[in-house]
Symmetry: D2
Subunit: 295 residues, 4 copies
């Protein structure tokens, strides 16, 4: 397929690379040129304006946040210049509100908007094993099938309303953040009573909590190895903010998300915004008076 690809962060690069390997033709754009080079060497055409990549059969976007979508013009001007009927496959995590706005704007411009956010970090993307949650026009979902297959190990189709894919992704990220905070509090409590974090986590992840989220983040937290970040803590605050905003939009109080927000802010105030978001656990330790030490 002919695919435009906008946004070549760690995730975007890995996903674009998978598409090239699967034989698709790519036209790529990124705000800074460096990330495009490796892809260029593998046959991708590098363009210098978003509008030149926002074309083809499908345009995939993987930009940072709501603000980036607006500033690039994806909520407005860019749409009118795209070929009618084109599928815009947005795979980034956006707010429910912007998702609704984008869906309406695309329909008005004669484009097909699909929200298809993903679960998985850089290494998972590189292996083509993302979990994809897609919602949008049925024919568009059908047509994008080969692209999903190249990037993900499983794609969930949620129906025709893109905002539901956004909401599910936001709820899922909130669940991950809650698990991290839970591990942080539980291991600090255990440690203060003489139980090593590893021991608590070994017991729990061997039984009720035998899931990647507890194993992976548990290991990071027990080992206090927050660098390099798989997902930056400052972006975690963004995700919690999306959950709170989605809650506010639907009048859903989210007390755990509120606690998370304050903890993320505290972590950033203490200079940990560029660490892996598992460093949220350090907040629990600090509050308990445990002086951070090297690891």
């Amino acid at each position: 397929m002919e695919v435009g690809f906008l946004g070549l962060g760690a995730m975007g690069r890995a996903m674009a690379s998978r598409l090239l390997s699967a034989g698709h033709r790519l036209r790529v754009w990124n705000r800074s040129p460096e990330p495009a080079r490796e892809l260029a060497g593998r046959g991708a055409e590098v363009v210098e304006e978003p509008a030149k990549a926002f074309r083809g059969d499908v345009a995939i976007t993987m930009l940072a946040d709501d603000a980036a979508y607006r500033s690039v013009g994806l909520a407005g001007p860019l749409l009118d210049r795209a070929p009618r009927g084109m599928i815009h496959l947005n795979m980034a995590t956006l707010s429910v509100e912007l998702t609704r706005e984008l869906a309406a704007a695309h329909a008005k411009a004669g484009l097909r908007y699909v929200a298809a956010p993903v679960f998985g970090r850089g290494d998972v993307a590189a292996a083509g094993k993302l979990t994809i949650v897609a919602a949008g026009p049925e024919d568009a979902l059908e047509q994008a099938g080969p692209l999903f297959e190249a990037m993900g190990q499983r794609t969930w189709r949620l129906g025709s309303d893109p905002s539901q894919a956004a909401a599910l992704k936001i709820a899922g990220n909130f669940m991950i953040a809650s698990a991290i905070e839970t591990i942080g509090e539980a291991t600090t409590l255990a440690a203060r009573h003489g139980v090593a974090p590893e021991t608590l986590l070994d017991v729990l992840t061997s039984s009720l909590f035998s899931a990647p989220v507890y194993k992976n983040y548990g290991a990071i937290i027990a080992g206090r190895k927050y660098q390099p970040p798989g997902f930056r803590l400052a972006l975690g605050l963004k995700d919690v903010r999306l959950a709170l905003a989605a809650g506010e939009g639907a009048k859903v109080p989210l007390p755990f998300a509120s606690v998370l927000r304050d903890a993320f802010l505290e972590a950033i105030a203490h200079g940990d915004g560029d660490l892996d978001w598992a460093a949220l656990a350090e907040v629990a330790r600090r509050r308990a008076g445990i002086v951070a030490g090297p690891d």
Copy 2:
């Protein structure tokens, strides 16, 4: 082995039954006589005073809470009447504070105290598949091995300090309660945006959250089937209280546990104390203005 068994609630009965099946001789006591009958029919000797069951090679206790241990005399008078050197295997979830007191009192009375709380509900106990977390004198742990084997699928030995087993169990229960609250908030958020709880849980438990705690409680919450209770919500409040007390003892703030406490209280105030503790999710729904429906 010759085993005394005090406390025949749903868990205690199932565990005692496993011991009988494994060929151990049991002397059982329970505050009310009914639960002992079936065990009597299978060869257990039923006694009418705690002191008469608190003897043998090993005495196992599975009473409700700290208060029950005190009122039965396990923090005092009963100890002096037990045979010197006897192992007291307490498998209930007690406070760290009482655990420390019991360990000291038993040592003084010449008894060996082992804290061996368990993870698993009634059906797991009946299948002999509990996860056991044991700490106490090494020779006592060794000697109790065959009993652990009869009741659990895996026993973790944490060393010689019983309070560490209590702390680990308390931290683990806090983690379960946090997972329930997380599911409650996330599914309410998703539902208000048109995503069925089942869908959210299917996606998440197929990937990052593929653990029994999310699958089991997720199914209960999505289906709103809170009866019969696998673990009563009112007991969940007790467990959160233990976590908060352990945190207070060690100066560890636990903001998630604080949120849980308030949510449990709210659930009980609305008459849900006798439902399964997964009904904590109804608090999130109610707060969002969703009127409880059938199920």
Copy 3:
């Protein structure tokens, strides 16, 4: 003075009325025409476009929120059409972020921006007894003195940075909301132990808490008289949101504000958004299982 006045809600009307009484000439604008009529009868010139009121010696604005300021053009187009050197006296509660943006945009357009938010509800405004917190260019503060005198009983000058007036006002509103929540929780706790809310409040406001905020809101809450609203609960959520945003901008966790946010959302989800914001206390009652009833 020649004064433009934009925004004639309950507060704006009362403030404009005071200015007329003090002999100033007013040109007034409001989105809907009705509120302007009474002022017209007293000599104010009613105009039909914001730009026609945004002129004179001083233009005072009292619009609803950040969004209203943007949509009317006060963050952009309107500025270029105003007379150079004019003072824009914004007396509404805006975000710190927009305040910074407005200050910069006004400076660029050769206008003088003063943030002068007020404490006091409609009746206080009508009596000319507002507390005004002003920050902006010193000469502008000086020049606006007679206007402040007509509207307030006391004006605090905070210096030249308008964002500090915004921040102080936001912090102050957060304090009021915290006091309301505190009264809600304390009276519910007392009531459940047989102590009437009035009794608790009588004792406390006769000594340590002898302040208007506790007396006024205490009386509303004890009497459960939430109508007509002095300040709508839904606007209270807006104010808490401003506090949270200001906290996020400066990396200041605000756990009380987080609790307030969830409580306001819950109140709105239960249909109380149009009541006085003291109705936040009903959330505490509802959570405790007290069925709302008339009083």
Copy 4:
């Protein structure tokens, strides 16, 4: 009157001193002998056992907490040795639960139990200006009138159930702690936006918040003068615990009290337990990344 007085901490000493000045005869007891000396020099009889002070027309107690009342024997043995009909005027802040137990035990022993907790710190007690909240048998309240007059500037009679006085006092202390936390968060927020804590507090305490609690604690917090403590922070945690326990007993969730609990724990974990409880504000500062320094 012939008065026994047990408990000569800072508050107790000041209150006993007032009673001597008013001409009452005192028999005093304290766990450690030093505090009694000055009173002895002024005519009080110093006794060495609690039982010897727990007699006379009225016995006043002002011990530290629930545990102290139990250990001294006031929940049991001491009662039977007191003269029938004696009034026990407990002026300390005890739990609602223990208050109920004491009321029942005294009635059974033929004594009259009055709960009369006080608002006010040491200097207020020394000036005889405490606010007293009393509940108990009507004749006992009447008879104790002259004592109340000697110690307080105002006594509120709540009726015959002592637990209501305890509940009111607990709710009041929760309100004070909430005010302190509110000041801590608000001043930190303001400070991070360039507004001095003093400025925020000047504005607010000149209008809506013109109450001693905001003026006094505001000054301590703005000046960061937490020594000597008027009320120790560690005792503040005790008071919050009493509020949470009273809430739990009556199924009243108290989210603000939960936040307070975690903040107090954090303060104590950082070594501030012996400072004035206004130092709770330092927790808000620390969380925002403001490094504590002298002032």
